[in-house]
Symmetry: C2
Subunit: 213 residues, 2 copies
């Protein structure tokens, strides 16, 4: 039933890398199948369509990340003393970095896929994630809200999407930014270093008092 490395897996591995680098619609099935060294038609045979391949690529990461993240959030949320925003966001580092063990470069690939998906899919991915991982998301939002009780729910909605934009855009251009940072400042950051840079930024933004005038 399975030859050499599973054809399905070969396709997914090649596809996720190309999708993350170049975006979904910029990546043709012919490019994917040639990199994966499989026949063009095998994508439609195994996945049905390109759209379903995209969904499969995302699901493979979300199914690992989401439960793992929810566990970490709950661990912190249910601790005796209230966790800080920094701690809550930092709780996501471990689940994110674990994706590197699942596959080489898994962390940044996942974050880039997420960004591409949110921007390219006209809200389709947002719907997919909220319907499939709604409880996990709710856990996260609840933990953040408890740590910043002075922020009204509506304002928190916007700010959490600001954070999504921050991280997702940063990751989508992480390679380019890293090159510039290396050239201009002699900095060489890996993905973890960038995540650790962005967390204080996001935490400060989410918690900043709401202006009332």
């Amino acid at each position: 039933m399975a030859s050499r490395t599973d054809t399905k897996t070969r396709i997914l591995d090649a596809a996720e890398k190309l999708f993350a680098e170049r975006g979904f619609s910029e990546t043709s099935l012919r490019l994917i199948t040639s990199k994966a060294e499989v026949n063009l038609a095998s994508v439609n045979y195994h996945f049905g369509s390109k759209k379903e391949l995209i969904r499969a690529v995302l699901a493979r990461y979300l199914d690992v990340f989401m439960p793992s993240a929810a566990i970490e959030i709950k661990r912190i949320h249910h601790a005796p003393e209230n966790a800080s925003l920094n701690e809550i966001f930092s709780a996501l580092i471990k689940p994110l970095l674990e994706l590197n063990k699942v596959r080489n470069g898994g962390t940044i690939i996942f974050l880039q896929l997420l960004g591409r998906g949110y921007i390219e899919s006209q809200g389709h991915l947002r719907w997919f994630i909220t319907t499939h991982y709604g409880e996990h998301l709710a856990t996260f939002v609840q933990a953040v809200s408890a740590s910043a009780p002075h922020i009204p729910a509506a304002e928190m909605f916007w700010r959490l999407h600001f954070t999504l934009g921050t991280i997702v855009f940063t990751m989508a251009s992480a390679d380019a930014l890293n090159e510039i940072a290396a050239a201009d400042y002699g900095e060489h950051n890996n993905i973890e270093a960038i995540i650790r840079k962005v967390i204080p930024y996001m935490a400060a933004g989410v918690a900043v008092p709401v202006l009332t005038n």
Copy 2:
């Protein structure tokens, strides 16, 4: 030399709207020319290629926004007392909203174009902007740095790109987010309201002390 509304302008007007909504590569010349009610070949006649059309669309906004923004920044920067980060970011509001007078929905179109450009063009837009509007950018960075002197230059580089990601991602999904906010919280924000929400978030993030351990 010019018939009805200038063909060139009709193309630019139709193109910018579609580019902002759907992205550059998702928008075909046939879609643009049919919306603009001009012949397909006129794009290549007037602009040479699709790539140059994209550049023209962006330039039309950048040429208005950049000088106007630089003036506002300088006005604040050279004021007797040092401006706060909030004030510096807020100085961009007027130039941004002025784009609404240039064209209907100009502000959000510009910000969405910027986001699409940064993400789709693999660093090409970044190069274009820094080479064409380098002095204006430097003015801005200098003003921000003076307002947050405790942030090293390399760290500031990252944080300013975080802010770019925040604003650009937010604007790219502004319509979708607004719908959700309206449904879930009864909020109805226009583009200015969203900008005023995001500024305190960004200012707090940029200025947050750098963790040293």
